[in-house]
């Protein structure tokens, strides 16, 4: 098993509590969400496959039956922050990425 390639993205201070930001990593738009009570970060693709726009980082987050999720700001479809799975349509799943906070820096692995 090869070791994960971690790419430095931004400072932990750039994260918004219970909200999202967007980063450009190797030409991919990555939506990064931070749940502050749990101190957990999640990364999925920023593209909303329904609205066809790069907006998911600007959606409201929370949980559906315990599963962390984001609601698209365009038409409110929900996506799992862990897996990118759409809650409304089992055939739709967007990319999700490994992410961690390391020494005050946010890092992702594609």
């Amino acid at each position: 098993m090869s070791a994960k390639q971690w790419i430095d993205v931004c400072s932990q201070n750039d994260l918004q509590a219970d909200s999202g930001i967007c980063a450009l990593v190797e030409d991919k738009q990555i939506a990064i969400f931070y749940m502050n009570l749990e101190n957990k970060v999640y990364a999925i693709n920023n593209f909303d496959p329904f609205g066809k726009a790069n907006v998911l980082s600007r959606g409201l987050i929370g949980d559906i039956k315990g599963e962390p999720m984001v609601a698209s700001p365009l038409h409110k479809q929900h996506f799992s922050l862990k897996t990118g799975q759409c809650f409304e349509d089992e055939n739709v799943r967007i990319e999700s990425y490994s992410i961690r906070i390391e020494k005050g820096r946010v890092e992702v692995s594609l």
Partner: protein, 845 residues
């Protein structure tokens, strides 16, 4: 296939029209070619609510005919043409305009006309009647040059006419021949209480007055001379002295009439000619004329059934009635006068609160025969069911009319009603029909109304309908879930109260103590709105950012491609040339698409998130402030130019619009709120389609509430008339805060009103009469919002740390490659997907 038969309907009033729509909903609609004559210049309209014509409803609002009804159903309508003669032998109808039609079946729905007693002088100028829209127009015109108006006749319609005259600004009298008002429906005690209440409203009631003559007046246009020697000066006289059936066409062709007129019908509503029916107020059954619409509708249904070969019969009708006369509840059920042999009476009289109630029970005290309710009629539905369904009375029947000051309910639970119990008398809907509609999936009052028509007529049965619905759902084990979402087992209203009572200032605090999980877009947005309404803190404060929905989170309106539009405030739609130029320059510099909105301001599209603070810096420097187009909050106060410029303007609508917009700007609410102010009744600002609409009158401002345009248009309800500015603002303060407190999430005022138990009267009781004793608090809350107003964009750009969020990438200055514009009519628009592909290929080449 057999040739169609011809069915002719003479008269397109409420009953004629309802018959047509019942016929068109039946199986036999295709068997007849239908032709109808309508003597009036307009098709059927709601005469029951005619008085509302004075409070702003138009002829179109009152219309009972759905658009395209005649065309869709292939009905030939002869409008403004009167059927004049019938040839029973030759089976033809001849009209005034000379149209001759051969019929197979004929239905007479000619209605009635107002009876005017042949007193000498009855035809003098300004002596009028109250029946058609034309009559109301004539009264309105005459009232312009009149000071005193008198209504002859203290019946139901007469009292409505009196209210109308008073609203037109006349000093008003009601002249009553008999000793009591509404003599057909009320006993002495009820009539006396009603008279007290009417007089308290400033209308004089003159009983026992036999008018002998009307002559030229000295101080007024007319003078009435009475048998007791007294005289009364009055400008306007409106006769409301009963109706007479319009039977002249039947009389002329030889159809059998009743002893006192009216077209005689049998239980199938057939006249003496088997191919001719008569329905409504022109018909007489068993020597009785029915002057209400419900029996007329029932006759119409009987005719449809008879044409179908069915067995429905008309065997008389219940004449019980409940109405609100000049704000006073009045109801009469069954044998109100206790004329049944051996009938016994209970009565309750409360002169302090102006309440009178009377029960008429059978000799053995077991059955309810009749009732009278004045001043408080909430028990009407229950009493009517006891009476109509002959349900055994409780041990102490007087409990049904005595005030119950504990919470113990004495109402008849809907469970006690049999399936045949009629719930809605306007459309003859019984409990069984309602239950099966509920079984087939109607879970809300709105769905039931739609499915069964119940409670869509006079609306009197609404509380009973709700009780049937609640009880059916409960017994079916269906809990009506009103939880906001899976994270909060509360309604929005509950959460608002919790925030108020416990002084909660953050979402995390609220969900920790009253919810579970991490929230979702529904509860976060709702709680964000509640906190903003109540505390009015800056919405992008750290604690609140995660609660802001799509548009609020960047204080701009997200469009389909993820770019934003920007709408600066233009109070009242007013903008100076310099400001307009400044706006144009900003739009030009940032290459924004510009469009004028429906709310009289300018929307600029195509701004990237990183451009928003730059654009707003320039707008604020030019003197603009946030327009809150992104918020569930006050949007605009639309206005016409009013008396400042307009030749017709009565008052300064722009100044009021500007003042109101400045007062309420920034108020967060369950949904967006729109206002409009019109400077005269021409209503160019379309105020009656707004949440809050204001129209100038000669004597102040009329206030309309809970109107809506959009998906489901709703005409605003007239809330109060001729208000001074101070009172107007006080009422709006109270209404808005009450809405903010009590509405559901994302509920516009129109739907809020539709769902409010007690409706407009309830809202009035809270806002005008302060029934809940909360007006002080409502006003204080509004004052807090006004005192803490800030331009959110000014706050945002003043603090560098807020601006960090306004960039597309946290780690790069690049732009979103997916945002591509093309040009159309000299401005930008987002490229569609085909164009995007094409442009990308071109770029790569």
């Amino acid at each position: 296939m057999s040739k169609k038969q011809t069915l002719v309907v003479i008269g397109n009033g409420m009953v004629g029209q309802t018959f047509l729509s019942d016929l068109m909903a039946s199986k036999i609609k295709d068997q007849y070619a239908v032709i109808t004559f309508c003597e009036e210049p307009r098709v059927a309209y709601d005469r029951v609510h005619l008085t509302e014509y004075f409070s702003g409803k138009s002829a179109e609002d009152l219309s009972m005919v759905e658009e395209g009804f005649f065309e869709t159903n292939n009905i030939t309508l002869h409008l403004g043409d009167k059927a004049e003669t019938i040839d029973l032998k030759g089976k033809t109808v001849l009209s005034k305009k000379g149209i001759s039609i051969s019929y197979d079946k004929l239905v007479l729905a000619t209605g009635s006309f107002p009876f005017v007693p042949p007193i000498p002088g009855y035809d003098r100028e300004n002596c009028m009647v109250y029946r058609t829209i034309e009559d109301l127009e004539a009264i309105t015109l005459a009232a312009k040059t009149a000071k005193i108006g008198s209504v002859v006749g203290g019946g139901l319609l007469g009292l409505e006419a009196a209210k109308a005259l008073q609203d037109l600004g006349l000093k008003t009298n009601v002249i009553q021949f008999s000793p009591r008002l509404m003599s057909a429906q009320l006993d002495d005690g009820g009539a006396k209480m009603l008279a007290n209440k009417i007089e308290a409203l400033g209308i004089s009631v003159l009983p026992n007055k036999n008018t002998l003559e009307i002559v030229e007046g000295e101080r007024c246009k007319n003078k009435m001379i009475f048998a007791d020697g007294e005289e009364l000066e009055t400008d306007l006289i409106v006769f409301s002295t009963g109706i007479r059936p319009r039977d002249e066409i039947a009389r002329a062709c030889g159809l059998k009439l009743g002893a006192r007129g009216g077209i005689a019908i049998n239980n199938q509503c057939k006249t003496s000619d088997p191919d001719v029916y008569a329905i409504g107020e022109c018909a007489v059954w068993n020597e009785q004329i029915f002057g209400l619409v419900a029996p007329g509708y029932a006759m119409g249904r009987t005719v449809v059934s008879d044409l179908l070969g069915g067995t429905v019969s008309f065997t008389g009708a219940d004449m019980s009635t409940k109405l609100k006369l000049n704000g006073v509840d009045v109801a009469s059920i069954g044998d109100a006068h206790a004329i049944t042999e051996g009938a016994l009476v209970y009565s309750y009289q409360n002169e302090v609160e102006g309440i009178y109630k009377r029960l008429v029970v059978s000799k053995n005290g077991k059955k309810l025969l009749g009732a009278v309710l004045v001043g408080e009629a909430s028990g009407y539905g229950t009493l009517l069911q006891y009476c109509l369904n002959e349900i055994d009375l409780p041990e102490n029947p007087d409990a049904l009319i005595l005030p119950h000051r504990s919470d113990e309910s004495v109402g008849l639970g809907s469970d006690a009603l049999p399936a045949t119990a009629q719930i809605c008398s306007c459309f003859d809907v019984n409990k069984g029909q309602i239950c099966s509609a509920i079984e087939s999936g109607c879970m809300t009052i709105a769905a039931l109304k739609n499915e069964t028509k119940a409670a869509t007529g006079c609306g009197g049965c609404l509380p009973l309908l709700k009780s049937v619905l609640d009880s059916e759902l409960k017994s079916a084990g269906i809990a009506v879930n009103t939880d906001l979402c899976e994270h909060f087992p509360h309604t929005r209203r509950d959460l608002y109260n919790i925030v108020m009572v416990e002084d909660i200032k953050t979402f995390d605090d609220l969900i920790e103590h009253h919810g579970s999980g991490r929230g979702c877009e529904i509860c976060r947005q709702a709680v964000g709105s509640i906190l903003a309404s109540y505390w009015n803190e800056y919405v992008l404060e750290k604690n609140h950012i995660s609660l802001q929905d799509t548009n609020d989170t960047f204080l701009a309106n997200m469009q389909k491609d993820g770019t934003y539009s920007i709408v600066p405030r233009m109070t009242g739609g007013e903008v100076s040339p310099d400001m307009l130029i400044a706006l144009g320059q900003v739009a030009k510099k940032y290459k924004l698409y510009t469009k004028v909105t429906g709310g009289q301001r300018i929307d600029m599209f195509g701004a990237r998130v990183d451009q928003l603070p730059l654009i707003w810096k320039e707008l604020i420097d030019a003197g603009f402030e946030s327009g809150h187009a992104y918020g569930k909050s006050l949007r605009t106060v639309k206005s016409c130019v009013g008396s400042t410029w307009c030749r017709y303007g009565i008052d300064d609508s722009i100044s009021l619009a500007v003042a109101l917009e400045n007062r309420y700007k920034g108020l967060r609410a369950p949904h967006k709120i729109k206002f409009a102010v019109s400077g005269c009744t021409r209503e160019c600002a379309e105020a009656q389609s707004k949440d809050i609409g204001i129209i100038a009158t000669e004597n102040g401002w009329n206030l309309y509430v809970c109107g809506n345009g959009g998906m489901k248009p709703r005409h605003g309800d007239l809330f109060a008339t001729n208000l001074d500015k101070e009172t107007l603002i006080k009422y709006i303060d109270r209404i808005l805060v009450f809405y903010v407190r009590s509405a559901d999430r994302m509920q516009r005022t129109s739907v809020w009103m539709e769902n409010m138990e007690g409706g407009l009267d309830y809202l009035k009781s809270i806002v005008i009469e302060d029934k809940l004793n909360i007006c002080d608090k409502l006003e204080a809350q509004m004052q807090h919002v006004i005192d803490t107003y800030q331009c959110e964009w000014k706050t945002t750009i003043e603090d560098e740390s807020n601006l960090k969020r306004f960039r597309h990438f946290v780690n790069s200055d690049k732009q979103d490659q997916n945002v591509v514009f093309v040009e159309q009519r000299g401005q930008i628009r987002p490229a569609n997907s085909a164009e995007q592909k094409h442009l990308k290929i071109a770029e790569e080449v």
